[in-house]
């Protein structure tokens, strides 16, 4: 059974990305959420696939794998994924597989961008998440340069 607008709004409050937003904003975002359910083992997307949406995990767990399908990390209820490719407008750089039966609420790129322009706290949350995973922004460049020198 699909979730109602109110249920979606209350779920959003539990997602770190939107936890600072008030009810009015959550309802506006909830209206644009699309619900998708997947079975365990199903592929959500694969590397190289066109990226259009961000996925919020409402139920179940998701295995994130790199391009060689090597498991990278596992995400659970309240986590989100698939956002990176929306900003760099590149195809998916990793794979997402359902570890268990899962329900996702998804948002399109254009809606996410509209939300960011209206609610700066969402972009701050995203930046915090990226910064958390990236201790040194120049790390890749430095490694590449060193490799080049060698």
């Amino acid at each position: 059974m699909t979730k109602s607008l109110i249920e979606k709004a209350f779920f959003l409050k539990k997602v770190r990305l939107f936890s600072d937003l008030d009810l009015e904003l959550l309802l506006a975002i909830a209206e644009k959420l699309h619900e998708d359910d997947y079975e365990a083992g199903e592929k959500i997307f694969m590397p190289g696939q066109v990226a259009n949406r961000i996925y919020l995990i409402e139920k179940g767990s998701v295995q994130i794998c790199d391009e060689r399908m090597k498991p990278y990390c596992e995400l659970g209820c309240g986590d989100y994924f698939g956002d990176e490719a929306l900003f760099n407008e590149q195809p998916r750089g990793y794979a997402a597989l359902c570890k268990t039966d899962a329900i996702f609420l998804t948002l399109s790129r254009s809606h996410l961008l509209s939300i960011i322009s209206e609610c700066p706290s969402v972009s701050v949350s995203l930046l915090q998440a990226y910064a958390h995973h990236l201790p040194c922004r120049h790390k890749c460049n430095v490694v590449n340069e060193l490799n080049g020198m060698r």
């Binding site: 309802l27 209206e31 399109s108």
Partner: protein, 938 residues
């Protein structure tokens, strides 16, 4: 030799242009269009060959009398196949389904070619006819869904008719091949040719999938990856869209009409060719279809696109039912073979050239989420259902099938008229679906729901109130308090009682802004919390809350006036000021004096939190003098104090504070904080001084979306008296575009007729400016390759963007759109499908003359086409020199143009630029002066 080569090059260029113009395609688009045209042609040849051969063989071997039963079988089979296709769309992409369908089609052709030469049993002819028709229906549906992935609506309006024409070219080739080669290679040979053609189409589809770039529609689910929606949710979505229902109904009646008309003309042909042998009818049908397809091709290539552009899609939709009406009006009275031929033209010609194309274009007004599946439903499901129903009707009627056709025509015409009326609105609804409605409150969302949904929503909120998470419970309480449902209050208080200290404090703050702030139940509950809890933090907040409502006794609070705890001190001051306790007048006056002195001391404190607390206490005084006291704190160094001051002024402001409006606007301009700005906007709204409109609009140019919405609301409240001023401000080219846009939007809301009457005057200048900026932005550097004109180029293109923005906003406001911002956002969208919907919406809502003028600017055209439009607009552009261009910018009333011109003159050290600038300064405003001084000094 070089002359010859040059001449040849020019000739080939001219030919290419002529070709593009004839077919309505843009430069660089040819290869892309050709791929789709080839795909359509290949599968059309195969499918048409198979269809015509199976038709004629069926009529000869079985006879027309058995057609209704075939229709029933085809219908039942197609319902199964369409369900399969719809289900497959959940798992597969249209490309995968297309290739599977084509492979099956090729197999059917090859298998048939083995048996037609022998004497197969009767069921073979039934099977061949049924499978050929099913293949055709599935191909029509899925090939358009596949094509749609690579085109937006505006592309579709230009090139879909070409693809249809290519399809007809395929059917002509099939008809010609049947006429020329049936005698020599027979049925089997032609069927093998059909299989080969379908396989060539498969190769073409693969090439498209690999080479062509898809137009992503990220608002739609599953167009690329397969939708995961259930069939039930699809039906639910269809029933929510009135346009989708009527479009599907029209389509269903068209299918009924198609089958009934086909039956009628087949019956006539059967009796006319009863003595001619099996090949005579096949040859006649082949010839007729080839001729009709030739006409279809001509219409598709050259007429349909232009016809739709001239008359509009909503008028083109009437062509088919009107043609059927004309045919049936004669046919019901006369049995002449000419009417049967006209019936064939209606089915094989008009339905395919006009109706199918119209459906493809109209389907863009169907909600995006169901668009691809509506097409499948139409092309596979409805054709089947139409056949089934018409088969049943024909069985039931036995005679009088032409009267049935006439009645169906009348119904189809009525539905087409309804579609014509609601098309524009449907396009707009589609566009609105993409917008996020941040301005809506919970009550608005509930108001838009059905009664049942509303009940469910309230249940969901109550369920969240019983959740185990305090965060969720607080959100639920927020929702319930916003709804103002007194029945929910006992449960809220019961839940609140179990909260921890921090959650209770948050709850107090929620109560404070709700309509239950002073409700006795709430006060009792707070007293109870204080008794039950030993948390000093909660006690402070609760005390403060009660003191604000005058519920403490002054005698008890006196001792706290010098308490080191700020909250207790604040509560004491509030108690002395507002206590409702029974006290003598002198005692109350004395208390108020003491409280005022203490408050003054607090306001003068060097501690931020003390000043903030003092301002909060000041907010509780209901006099404009208190707001005056808060005024100096708007420019305090701490943003916390600034916010408190702004909140205080917003709460207390009224018309008596109008003399401070300029000061508030000054602070508004200087501020960057959202909360601070919103409070000041609210204050200005309460002051409602119409003489400050221009300043407010000027301050609004750097506002965030919610601040702009608030400003718009406050100015709208000022009413009709500000209309003349708004009109003048909208026309004032010297003002920044953003300020003019806001003025225009408010004008549109207050006096739409006045804005519409002045729109041409306002936009003519802007369109001229847009073309001017665009042309020189793209050509000036090439004209003067030795100068570095990057700055001028950038400035001109930025100017172009800003003018286009202004034009779109004005059109949105004048088109009485509920949300012009949405149209602007859609027109700026990088998503081609959203952009093309916005252009379509603009076309449907704005004046036709204005749309023709701005279409080349807002539509997603190649640069070459836009430049051609610039030259068409204004022939003397190429003759302007750089200095003439700068002089022209100098003379402009736009500050932006002037600044760019003088900056460039200075940079290029043009003769006498200083002198010219000083001269210009004599009759310029302060902003220009400031910039000019800086430039002269450097």
């Amino acid at each position: 030799m070089p002359y010859n080569r040059n001449h040849q090059f020019r000739l080939s260029f001219a030919m290419q242009r002529l070709f593009r113009k004839a077919f309505g395609i843009y430069s660089g688009e040819g290869a892309h269009a050709l791929r789709f045209a080839r795909l359509a042609m290949f599968w059309a040849f195969g499918s048409s060959c198979l269809d015509t051969l199976s038709d004629s063989l069926f009529l000869e071997r079985i006879g027309a009398a058995s057609l209704p039963i075939t229709y029933l079988c085809i219908a039942s089979g197609m319902i199964a196949v369409s369900s399969l296709v719809l289900y497959s769309l959940r798992r597969m992409s249209p490309y995968q389904i297309l290739t599977i369908a084509m492979a099956i089609g090729a197999f059917v052709c090859i298998a048939s070619s083995f048996f037609v030469g022998s004497d197969p049993p009767a069921f073979f002819w039934y099977g061949m006819k049924i499978s050929s028709r099913m293949f055709f229906a599935v191909m029509i549906a899925i090939s358009w869904t596949f094509t749609d992935q690579y085109h937006d609506l505006q592309d579709a309006k230009r090139v879909y008719s070409i693809y249809s024409a290519a399809y007809f070219f395929g059917t002509i080739l099939a008809g010609t091949a049947i006429n020329l080669f049936l005698d020599s290679i027979g049925f089997s040979g032609l069927l093998i040719c059909s299989a080969a053609s379908i396989l060539a189409g498969l190769v073409e589809a693969r090439r498209i999938a690999r080479k062509s770039k898809a137009v992503h529609d990220d608002s739609a689910e599953g167009v690329f990856s397969g939708s995961r929606d259930s069939f039930a949710s699809l039906v639910k979505l269809i029933f929510r869209s009135r346009f989708a229902i009527i479009l599907l109904l029209l389509s269903l009646f068209m299918q009924l009409l198609l089958t009934v008309t086909e039956f009628n003309y087949m019956e006539s042909f059967d009796s006319a060719f009863s003595s001619g042998g099996e090949k005579a009818l096949a040859a006649f049908l082949g010839k007729c279809r080839a001729l009709i397809s030739a006409c279809n091709m001509g219409i598709g290539f050259f007429l349909y696109g232009r016809f739709v552009r001239r008359t509009g899609l909503n008028n083109a939709i009437l062509v088919t039912p009107l043609f059927f009406l004309a045919v049936y009006t004669g046919w019901v009275f006369s049995d002449a073979i000419g009417f049967a031929v006209l019936g064939l033209i209606a089915v094989d010609g008009i339905l395919f050239t006009v109706e199918d194309n119209c459906f493809n274009l109209l389907s863009n007004a169907v909600p995006t989420k169901i668009k691809s599946r509506v097409r499948i439903i139409n092309d596979s499901f409805f054709e089947a259902t139409g056949m089934l129903l018409s088969g049943l009707l024909l069985f039931a009627i036995q005679s009088g099938s032409r009267w049935l056709g006439f009645s169906l025509t009348l119904i189809a015409l009525s539905l087409a008229i309804v579609i014509r009326a609601i098309y524009s609105k449907a396009i707009l609804i589609n566009l609105k679906d993409n917008a996020l409605h941040f301005e809506q409150k919970l009550k608005d969302w509930l108001a838009a729901m059905t009664r049942r949904e509303e009940k469910e929503a309230k249940k969901d909120i109550l369920a969240a109130l019983r959740s185990s998470s305090e965060e969720t419970q607080i959100l639920a309480i927020d929702a319930l308090l916003e709804l103002g449902d007194a029945a929910a209050l006992p449960e809220i208080l019961q839940v609140g009682r179990k909260f921890g200290t921090l959650a209770k404090i948050r709850l107090l703050r929620l109560f404070e802004t709700s309509q239950f702030a002073s409700a006795s139940r709430v006060i009792e509950a707070i007293d109870q919390w204080m008794e039950e809890s030993d948390s000093p933090e909660l006690a402070k907040w609760a005390n403060f809350y009660l003191a604000k409502r005058g519920l403490h006794h002054p005698e008890k609070a006196e001792g706290d006036l010098d308490h080191p705890d700020l909250f207790l001190r604040g509560a004491a001051i509030l108690t002395l000021k507002k206590s409702k306790a029974n006290q003598s007048l002198d005692y109350a006056a004395l208390n108020r004096t003491i409280a005022a002195k203490k408050l003054d001391l607090m306001l003068k404190s060097s501690h931020i939190d003390e000043v903030s607390m003092a301002l909060e206490i000041l907010t509780e005084e209901e006099s404009p003098e208190a707001a005056e006291k808060a005024l100096p704190y708007l420019s305090h160094e701490s943003i916390l104090v600034q916010r408190s001051a702004a909140r205080c002024i917003a709460r207390l402001a009224d018309k008596r504070l109008s003399r401070f409006a300029p000061r508030l606007i000054e602070e508004l301009e200087a501020a960057r904080d959202n909360g601070f700005r919103l409070a000041l906007i609210e204050a200005l709204g309460k002051i409602a001084d119409s003489t400050t409109i221009k300043e407010i609009l000027l301050a609004s140019i750097h506002f965030r979306p919610n601040e702009r919405r608030c400003t718009e609301a406050l100015l709208v409240q000022m009413g009709l008296k500000i209309v003349p001023l708004l009109l003048a401000l909208t026309k004032d080219i010297a003002l920044p575009e953003r300020a003019r846009i806001l003025a225009g939007k408010i004008l549109g809301r207050l006096a739409l007729a006045q804005l519409q009457a002045n729109l041409i005057d306002i936009l003519d200048i802007e369109i001229e400016r847009a073309y001017f900026y665009f042309y020189f932005g793209h050509t000036i550097q090439n004209q003067y390759p030795l100068y570095d004109l990057e700055m001028l180029q950038n400035a001109l293109l930025a100017g172009y963007q800003s003018v286009i923005d202004f034009i779109i906003h004005m059109l949105g406001a004048a088109g009485a759109l509920e949300d012009p911002e949405l149209l602007v956002r859609a027109l700026h969208s990088r998503n081609a499908k959203i952009h093309s919907h916005a252009v379509e919406s603009l076309e449907k809502t704005c004046d036709a003359r204005i749309f023709r003028l701005i279409a080349p600017l807002v539509d997603d055209l190649p640069l070459e086409e836009k430049m051609a439009a610039c030259l068409k607009w204004h022939g003397d552009y190429p003759r302007l020199t750089l200095s003439e261009l700068l002089n022209k910018l100098d003379e402009s009333s736009s500050l932006f143009d002037k600044v760019v011109a003088i900056r460039l003159k200075a940079k290029l050290q043009m003769p006498n630029w200083r002198l010219q600038l000083r001269e210009q300064m004599k009759h310029s405003d302060e902003t220009f002066h400031q910039y000019a001084y800086e430039l002269l000094e450097t």
